[in-house]
């Protein structure tokens, strides 16, 4: 009997102490983590919408979407967070869009697990800068191995055509959903 009591006692007290300790630590850490996340999102939004000063999340969109306001508190467009399949897993990215949704201001890849040194080039400069001021209608298109000559085209990365195309597809997907949302009046 004594043994069982001791067992229960020790285990329970270890449990309680550890639970308590964790509660304390997480009480300290959780706000920091949330702040980190918020700061990261915020920074990303303002990077893809450089003229933005304020933003608010549009709830009920069915996906992550932010309305961005400029210094005059006027609507200056949207920041869209969208994801889809890349070469070896999900690619999640954020794109800044003009008010009429016809132009991309900039994009940034938030999460990806592409091959380092190959697919990961979609995160880097020469590729991402192609999206500055890119036209989105009728849809974004890509070319391979040559310079793009239309305002809605980008060039794929050599050796990472699939990842490049995935980025384009994700954008097209997200933007078309956004457009539908606008038609149905969901952006109000």
């Amino acid at each position: 009997m004594n043994k069982v009591v001791q067992m229960l006692l020790v285990l329970t007290s270890i449990g309680i102490i550890s639970g308590g300790l964790l509660a304390v630590v997480s009480g300290w850490a959780d706000p920091l983590i949330a702040a980190n996340q918020k700061a990261a999102t915020e920074a990303a939004i303002f990077r893809v919408k450089p003229e933005g000063k304020k933003y608010e999340q549009i709830k009920n969109a069915g996906f992550e979407l932010y309305k961005v306001m400029n210094e005059n508190d006027q609507n200056s467009g949207y920041a869209l967070v969208y994801q889809g399949n890349g070469f070896s897993g999900k690619i999640r990215l954020i794109a800044g869009l003009s008010e009429d949704l016809n132009n991309i201001s900039a994009i940034e890849v938030l999460d990806q697990v592409e091959t380092p040194g190959l697919g990961t080039k979609i995160v880097e400069e020469p590729f991402t800068s192609q999206f500055l001021k890119l036209e989105t209608s009728p849809k974004i298109d890509w070319v391979k191995g040559e310079k793009p000559d239309k305002p809605n085209e980008i060039q794929t990365i050599t050796g990472a055509t699939i990842s490049s195309k995935a980025v384009v597809a994700i954008l097209n997907d997200g933007i078309s959903r956004l457009k539908k949302l606008r038609e149905s009046g969901g952006l109000k």
Binding site: Q6, M7, L11
Partner: protein, 227 residues
């Protein structure tokens, strides 16, 4: 009767003779998964060492009051608690590193280096020895991860701790930072360690044989051979 081992040996055994990764083949998953770069290896090593040291200290302190039946369960809860703390701290203070190490921080819980040490050592020794043992094992683990991470980073990305150290003409071998590269590198590393250990053993053996010959105690040589 327990042999009294010198304190320095207590520490050093984990670094080489009983190196958890290279000799005991424990904790291989984090070893392979996070070592795409030296910094990741180091961070993982330190995180695991922290958990190992804290858990060992605590467990050896309260070892007398833990009933054997709930031993493992208590160990796991204690380890899990420290792991969660590390995880939360990393997320709060080093978000980038935490992202790079991914779910492998939580997985320290099941890293058998840690559980194994509690079971094999901390629960049977005083806190001082347990501390030294944990530090030693932690150091061995960290060194192994650092070496592996260093090799993979240098060949796979031309850099070491982020600094480019290979010439531009050197085309990085992407494979080194892919899963296949991890397996191949660790396999070759383990093989190399074995080659070295075998050689050392042979040399020791030979010198012992030579010594016995010198002092004219051939019968001892036979004993050696039997072993």
């Amino acid at each position: 009767m327990k042999k009294q081992v010198t304190l320095s040996k207590e520490f050093l055994k984990g670094v080489w003779d009983n190196n958890p990764v290279l000799k005991q083949l424990l904790g291989l998953c984090p070893t392979l998964a996070v070592t795409v770069s030296a910094i990741n290896g180091l961070a993982m090593g330190l995180a695991a060492t922290f958990v190992l040291v804290m858990a060992s200290l605590l467990i050896s302190t309260i070892r007398k009051i833990i009933p054997p039946q709930v031993r493992i369960a208590s160990f796991i809860v204690i380890i899990a608690t420290f792991v969660t703390i590390v995880d939360l701290v990393m997320k709060a203070k080093f978000p980038d590193l935490s992202k790079a190490l991914g779910p492998f921080i939580p997985l320290i819980v099941v890293n058998c280096v840690i559980l194994g040490r509690q079971e094999a050592f901390a629960s049977k020794n005083n806190p001082g020895r347990a501390f030294l043992d944990a530090i030693g094992m932690g150091a061995g683990f960290t060194i192994a991860l650092l070496v592996l991470g260093g090799i993979r980073e240098i060949i796979g990305s031309r850099t070491f701790f982020g600094l480019q150290i290979m010439p531009d003409q050197f085309e990085p071998w992407l494979i080194m930072i892919l899963p296949a590269g991890a397996f191949l590198t660790l396999g070759l590393l383990l093989g190399a360690v074995n080659v070295y250990a075998d050689r050392k053993k042979r040399l020791e053996h030979e010198s012992l044989v030579a010594h016995y010959k010198r002092v004219g105690r051939e019968e001892l040589i036979e004993e050696l051979e039997v072993k």
